[in-house]
Amino acid sequence: MELGLTANDWLLAAPFLWLAGAGVLVLIWDAVRPQPLAEGIVSWIGLGLAAVACLPILEAVRTEPVEAFSGMLSVNVPVIVLAILCLGAAAFCGIVAWRSLLPYEGGRHTTAFWTLLLFSTFGMVLTLWANHMATLFLGVECLSLPLYVLVALRRDQSDSIEAGLKYFLLGAFASGFMAFGMAMVYAATGDMSPAAISAAAEGSSLGVFGVALLLIALLFKVAAVPFHLWVADVYQGAPTPVTALMATGTKAATVAALLRWAPGGELMGPQSWAMLGCLTLLIGNLTALNQSNLKRMLALSGVAHVGILLFAFAARAAAETAEATSQIGDTLGYYLVAYGLAATAAFGALELLERRVGHSESASLQGIARRQPLLAGVLCIALLSLAGFPLTAGFLAKYFVFVEMIRHGLSSWAVIGILLTLFGFAYYLKALVTLFMQEPPEERPSLWRPDWVATMALLVPTVLSVVFGVWPKAIQL
């Protein structure tokens, strides 16, 4: 038998080889001679090499999408940019976790943390690139399975275990929906590529039902209303570095998968997508307004962001030319990068605050502006970008989505979306007011050691949020 791997196969397999290789190497290292620092360095090198391996692919797909492994994988420009975002989020998660999550229980979970982090990132990249139901399912599983464990890693905190259990039970349920839907779509069409989705959606009732099940599973993974109920509990209970990874990497990977695998046409027309987006935006904003816990608030603000992303799906369903469709793909990619950077910075800053005051209630922000001006600045820019304030990437991202909606004849929905976004400013401003204008009731004992590495790492997504906000071409989508 011939192996028959082409040059493209190797090109696209390279990031996976680096990620899996680093994960395996960490396990071997731990078995031979446990050294937390070495394991961390191996993981960061693995993530970095995987990102470097993405660059030649980026060059190769400039003109047209590249397929590999007889259609199992297919990549285009936005998907690769999002893969690099996921890798960056994983590296960031490791840096922030270094001083808080890893030393817990005598550092016995270090190896597990790095391995699971690498394998979860592996799953994210696979989900992004999957062009066949088998790879999609494996990608989503490989993404979620390590995350269930990472969420529950703080076994001394009942919140963390509760979050892990909730995420696992609901996630396993969604995986069941996904597998069942895939089986039905295959039964109806005999095809397992993304083309099967539209064929099944227009074909027999069996296919329609299968597409609906697959859609439910993906909407659960991206946390769209009405499948968003797990988000607040899981994001709150998870260790904050892991929450940052989930908000950035998982969201980017699953939204991109939804873009590739979502049905359009008669089954889910522009109006249905816009209605879903509007509902998600409204409920996300309304529930975020009432939260006193900052992690919960940011989780629900993430739901609201999914609402705007679903508006972009509506524009894509209305788009008629292939060029317009690909442009909306770029818009979605830009949005996910903008949201991911801001969410990473925000959750990272919250992690540093949480170490200082021991909780993530909004009172923890009091007096930070005076004592930790750098941290306050990072949090301020992150929150402004999440809100969509001009001169940040978050503003341009929202602007691009609404422009696309108006261009494709969804002006009334766009107006509703803009109004709801303005309404969402309320809770971001509330947090900013606490941050800059309130003083803590009494002076807290200063047991806190500044973590300069993590603080420097925080500056990267913050600066990028501003750079991409004033110079969007820098992202090269």
Binding site: M1, E2, L3, A20, V24, L27, I28, D30, A31, T111
Partner: protein, 119 residues
């Protein structure tokens, strides 16, 4: 279609007949007598005390999970073994990579004490 499984059905029928036959024979030949200790779980040895329904060690769960994972691995090995000759060296390399990754998982279990009972 169904004829293919006729031997299987015949085998099942034989098993069933054997079980029923043995039970019937014991009832017929044996002389049932009510004696003390007949109803005990063990007719000899220790007298069981307490209730069997207590909480068991979480280690049972770990063993079961690890068993499933390697059970799934064995499944893929069966598939490979069926056509190992025609898959040749390439097939060997492919399945070797698969096994190598899992072997590292096994190494992790071993070094982390997952194979030992009381830890």
């Amino acid at each position: 279609m169904l004829a293919t499984y006729a031997p299987l059905l015949a085998w099942l029928a034989l098993v069933l007949a054997f079980v029923v036959g043995i039970l019937a024979l014991t009832a017929w030949i044996g002389r049932p007598q009510a004696a003390t200790g007949k109803g005990d779980p063990y007719e000899c040895g220790m007298i069981p005390r307490g209730d069997a329904r207590h909480r068991f060690s979480v280690h049972y769960y770990l063993v079961a999970v690890l068993f499933i994972l390697f059970d799934v691995e064995a499944l893929f090995l069966i598939l490979w073994a069926l056509k190992a000759r025609s898959l040749g060296l390439v097939g060997l390399v492919e399945v070797g990579l698969f096994l190598a990754v899992l072997a590292v998982g096994w190494l992790h279990i071993w070094r982390r004490g997952g194979l030992e009972w009381d830890r």
